[in-house]
C-alpha cells in the first residue's frame, strides 16, 4: 500500500520548511512551492506581541485533509499542510502549505487557493496578545 500523496497535521512544535520540502520531493517533480504564514507584529493597528492558536482539533484536521486532498486532485503531485497550535512569538510560522508538481505554472494558483480555503474552513482561532491592551479573539479573516 502506497502512502497518500497528501498530508495534513496539527502540531505544537516549530514548523520546518526543510522537512516539508523533503516530504514533497518526488523524482517526477520540477517544482516545489512553499508558503509560510508568520506571526507579524502588527494587526488592525495594534502591536502584537504573540498569538495563541486554538483549535477544534478533529474538525480542523479533517478540513485541512480535505484541502490538501483537493490540491492533489487539481494537479499537485503531493501536497502538505501543517498548522501550528499553542503560543507563538512574532516571526514564528503558524501555517505551512506546500505542493510539488512536474511544472511550476499551476503551483502558484494551487497554493493561493489552498490558503484561501484554510483561512475560511479550518477551525483554528487566533487569540492575539498586544503590548497595550488585553488579548482579543480574532474571528473571521
Amino acid at each position: 500500500m502506497s502512502p497518500e500523496p497528501y498530508s495534513a497535521s496539527l502540531t505544537r512544535d516549530p514548523l520546518s520548511t526543510e522537512e516539508a520540502s523533503r516530504w514533497l520531493q518526488d523524482s517526477t517533480c520540477g517544482a516545489i512551492h512553499l508558503f509560510c504564514g508568520v506571526v507579524r507584529d502588527l494587526n488592525r493597528e495594534q502591536t502584537v506581541t504573540r498569538i495563541e492558536y486554538h483549535s477544534h482539533e478533529p474538525l480542523a484536521l479533517k478540513s485541512l485533509e480535505k484541502i490538501v486532498a483537493g490540491l492533489v486532485e487539481s494537479g499537485a503531485t503531493k501536497a502538505i499542510a501543517i498548522h501550528r497550535l499553542g503560543m507563538l512569538e512574532v516571526g514564528e510560522t503558524s501555517i505551512l502549505l506546500g505542493v510539488s508538481l512536474p511544472h511550476r505554472k499551476r503551483g502558484f494558483e494551487l497554493l493561493e487557493r489552498g490558503m484561501l480555503e484554510i483561512k475560511s474552513e479550518v477551525a483554528v482561532w487566533k487569540h492575539e496578545h498586544y503590548t497595550d491592551s488585553p488579548p482579543e479573539w480574532i474571528e473571521g479573516s
Binding site: 477544534h56 474538525l59 483561512k119 479550518v122 477551525a123 482561532w125
Partner: protein, 81 residues
C-alpha cells in the same frame, strides 16, 4: 436528552466555560439547538448569527437531526492560517 456543547474562542469567553449543557427533545434539529441556546444562554445570543455547528469532525446544516450523545460544537468564524 442532555447534550454537552463545545464552545470556542469568544463564545467560550462569553459563556465563561468551554462547554454548555443543553436539553433537547428526540427529533430536534440543529436549528432547534440554536434556539435553545438563545433561550438558555442569552449572553451568547448575538454571537450565534455567524456560528456554524459541527458534529464530530464534520460541519452540519440547520436541518440535521440531533441524536443522543452527539458531539456538537459551535464554530465561530475561523481565523487560522
Amino acid at each position: 436528552m442532555n447534550l454537552n456543547i463545545l464552545l470556542f474562542a469568544s463564545l467560550k469567553d462569553a459563556a465563561g466555560s468551554s462547554t454548555i449543557d443543553i436539553k433537547l427533545t428526540e427529533g430536534d434539529r440543529v436549528a432547534d439547538l440554536i434556539e435553545a441556546i438563545r433561550r438558555d444562554h442569552p449572553q451568547l445570543s448575538e454571537r450565534l448569527d455567524h456560528v456554524r455547528v459541527a458534529l464530530g469532525d464534520e460541519f452540519v446544516t440547520p436541518e440535521t437531526v440531533i441524536t443522543e450523545g452527539a458531539e456538537l460544537a459551535l464554530i465561530p468564524p475561523v481565523s487560522g492560517g
